[in-house]
């Protein structure tokens, strides 16, 4: 992979994101429907998106994750469109929401928001509907990412999907001669002191996902919407897991060195770690997804309600959706493009990377991934019996203490 752009800073922020993605106060919705989710109409739903892209305004102001507008694809964009890109990197989803207040206040044009921040931005009226027909590559997107529930509501698109990543089961092939196919290895006392999982309250959702398959009597349907009984069961599972854990990892580089140095043999990870470890010659492999399914995250480019340079914004979205730029970003950041055509470009840049990052995954693959959303008190059925994220964090502190 072209790892030159890669640095711990990028991963620090992804670690933050992993946590911050759960912050938002959002409504919950179904994820896989072709028209997105069905829920209350957002304030900007009535705004008709522009039908053509006019001449660029010469300027584009982006709120984004560090590294999402790399020189290698910004410079050709500016050369081709005349839109000068100025970047405002954000450290967390919260910061993104804060920066985009009042529709970007006429200052910012777009934001590369993550799954959770999306609904907050949409429902505060800070972003407005976008016209997908102005983005030619949109039709090449994975069907799931044309209208995922976190950015498409009642059939209206409030942004264009960008990149995503799954959580995987990483293991040492010397220790596990037979490929482990279930998350159960992470809860197995036989692996005591050899396990690592992320230091992130999101792990409760991973535990809930596991329980939804192994303990059907709990009736867990959505790992982000847990009643007290379901939540307690997930927390208990994690408390039982705690003595088996060698270390809760914070940065992907930590997990890589844990595996490299033989401190752990199995853990929850991202494709990035597997790729890096394999490049370094470590005897590892990943299971994705294990039989119980997996969790994952996804980012979207959204257009500010008061965007001062909408034409440049559309030109930018069009540009970053093209297979070449999608592939470049995927490889520089260690994530997966939503454009299915990016696969060939990834292969050209780094042979084998398409399959490694699952950029060629079939549509059924996305049914097995539960994309992050913020746990809130209001469940999907409208009752207030679900455990909000605040309590998730408190429980996580007590688990890892």
């Amino acid at each position: 992979m072209s790892s030159a752009v890669f640095g711990p800073a990028a991963w620090l922020r992804r670690g933050c994101l992993a946590a911050a993605a759960l912050l938002a106060v959002t409504a919950c919705g179904s994820t896989a429907a072709p028209t997105g989710s069905t829920r209350a109409q957002p304030p900007t739903a009535g705004m008709t998106p522009q039908s053509t892209i006019g001449a660029g305004e010469g300027q584009l102001n982006l709120v984004l994750w560090d590294g999402y507008a790399d020189k290698s694809w910004v410079d050709p964009f500016t050369a081709a469109t005349g839109c000068k890109v100025s970047q405002k990197p954000a450290g967390s989803s919260d910061e993104m929401v804060a920066l985009m207040k009042d529709g970007g206040a006429g200052q910012y044009d777009m934001v590369s928001a993550s799954g959770d921040a999306d609904l907050r931005l949409i429902y505060s009226g800070d972003v407005k509907p976008m016209n997908t027909s102005l983005i030619p590559d949109w039709s090449n997107f994975q069907t799931y990412f044309q209208a995922p529930g976190f950015n498409t509501i009642n059939g209206i698109h409030y942004g264009i999907s960008l990149q995503w990543g799954p959580n995987t089961l990483l293991y040492n092939t010397k220790k596990f001669a037979n490929k482990p196919t279930s998350w159960s290895v992470l809860y197995d006392p036989a692996n005591k002191g050899l396990i690592t999982v992320p230091d992130n309250a999101i792990q409760i959702a991973d535990a809930a996902l596991y329980l939804s398959k192994t303990t059907p009597s709990l009736k867990i349907t959505d790992p982000y919407e847990l009643t007290q009984t379901q939540f307690d069961a997930a927390v208990k599972l994690l408390k039982d897991q705690r003595p088996l854990i060698k270390k809760y990892w914070t940065l992907p580089t930590d997990e890589i060195s844990l595996f490299q140095n033989g401190d752990v043999q199995v853990g929850a990870a991202w494709p990035y770690q597997t790729i890096q470890l394999k490049l370094a010659g470590a005897p590892v492999d990943e299971t994705i997804p294990p039989t119980e399914g997996a969790t994952g995250w996804a980012d979207t480019w959204m257009l500010a309600t008061k965007a001062p340079h909408p034409n440049c914004a559309y030109l930018w979205t069009k540009w970053v959706s093209t297979p070449n730029v999608q592939a470049k970003q995927a490889l520089s950041f260690g994530e997966t493009p939503v454009n299915t055509k990016a696969c060939g470009e990834m292969e050209a840049l780094s042979p084998g990377s398409c399959a490694q990052y699952h950029a060629d995954a079939p549509g059924s693959y996305f049914d097995t991934i539960k994309f992050w959303k913020t746990p809130i008190a209001t469940c999907d059925d409208g009752s207030n019996n679900c455990i909000p994220y605040l309590q998730w964090q408190a429980a996580w502190t007590s688990i890892t203490a």
């Binding site: 912050l23 060698k246 060195s257 033989g262 007590s398």
Partner: protein, 312 residues
């Protein structure tokens, strides 16, 4: 105000100071007449900075601790209550974390005191001038390197395939798996904060006059007796001063627990960080943030009794 009037007399009608070359330089005369004015002008900017920026932010933090957060909207609710403190005082999780933080800070402090004293004694009383300079450089040199680089260096030593296990195995001993444990944190903290103990201890020992040691010898005290009854009591304020650094630095750290700690290594700082940075529960983070403040206040009161502030 007489001084003010005096100043006005020296101004030209346009309000500008007269060109130099008159009788006395105006401000110097003013300062001479009003000695307190000099102190006020000298201290005003730092004091203003201290009060406005430092104290004000601390007060805001304290105030927030008495608020709460709405579980439905995640917004801060400005309703005065003691819920956050009640949780901290009654929940075993927080007892465990506070206990671990304070316990390890104390352990690191004692370890550093034991390690630093002979070293500082050698530097102050035994070593030649030249050796002293070299030792000083050796103590201070690690502080030039990044904190993170030094912690990561320890990871390389302590991890499973690291230097420690490699050395143990090459001499036929079983591996010591202390990587990613609280033992590892103890080792790393003790290493990182050691210079902060050595320097005040050295400063205190340096101030012990050699004549006292000679007098002790003249009166028949052997070397150890002289150290125990003469040097140690005189150096104690320096050790306590050093302990303020080692204790408070360990108490407030949250990076080493993340990097070298294992499962179950959270410090107060880690919980504050996750409450602030992740769930945005500022009130709870603020309440937990007052715990180290209270602990340090008690510690400093004790240190003052032991004369640490005279040694600083």
């Amino acid at each position: 105000m007489a001084g003010g009037l005096d100043l006005d007399h020296r101004l030209t009608p346009t309000g500008r100071p007269r060109p130099k070359g008159g009788r006395a330089v105006p401000f110097q005369a003013l300062f001479w007449r009003l000695p307190w004015l000099r102190s006020v002008i000298l201290l005003l900017p730092p004091m203003a900075w201290f009060v406005l920026i430092y104290l004000a932010s601390l007060v805001l933090l304290m105030v927030t601790a008495f608020w709460t957060i709405d579980p439905f909207t995640s917004q801060i609710v400005q309703a005065w209550n003691l819920d956050n403190f009640r949780v901290i005082l009654t929940n075993d999780t927080y007892h465990l974390i506070i206990g671990r933080t304070v316990g390890l800070a104390a352990l690191v402090t004692i370890t550093d005191a034991i390690l630093a004293f002979p070293f500082a004694y050698y530097m102050a009383k035994v070593a030649s001038r030249r050796t002293q300079t070299i030792l000083f450089a050796a103590v201070l040199l690690p502080l030039w390197a990044s904190y993170l680089a030094r912690v990561y260096a320890w990871i390389l030593i302590l991890n499973h395939n690291g230097l420690l296990n490699w050395s143990l195995q090459s001499i036929g001993l079983p591996p010591a798996n202390i990587g990613y444990t609280n033992t590892a944190m103890w080792v790393v903290f003790s290493y990182i904060w050691l210079p902060f103990m050595i320097i005040p201890t050295y400063a205190a020992l340096e101030r012990v006059p050699d004549s006292l040691l000679e007098a002790a010898a003249d009166l028949g005290a052997r070397r150890w007796r002289a150290i125990k009854d003469v040097v140690l009591p005189l150096a104690m304020p320096g050790v306590v001063a050093g302990s303020i650094f080692t204790f408070s630095l360990t108490l407030g750290d949250y990076i080493t627990p993340i990097l070298v700690g294992g499962a179950g290594s959270s410090f107060i700082g880690n919980v504050v960080y996750s409450n602030l940075g992740i769930v945005n529960n500022v009130p709870f983070a603020a309440a937990l943030g007052t715990v180290p403040i209270v602990i340090m206040a008690i510690y400093l009161l004790g240190a003052r009794r032991l004369g640490a502030f005279e040694a600083l």
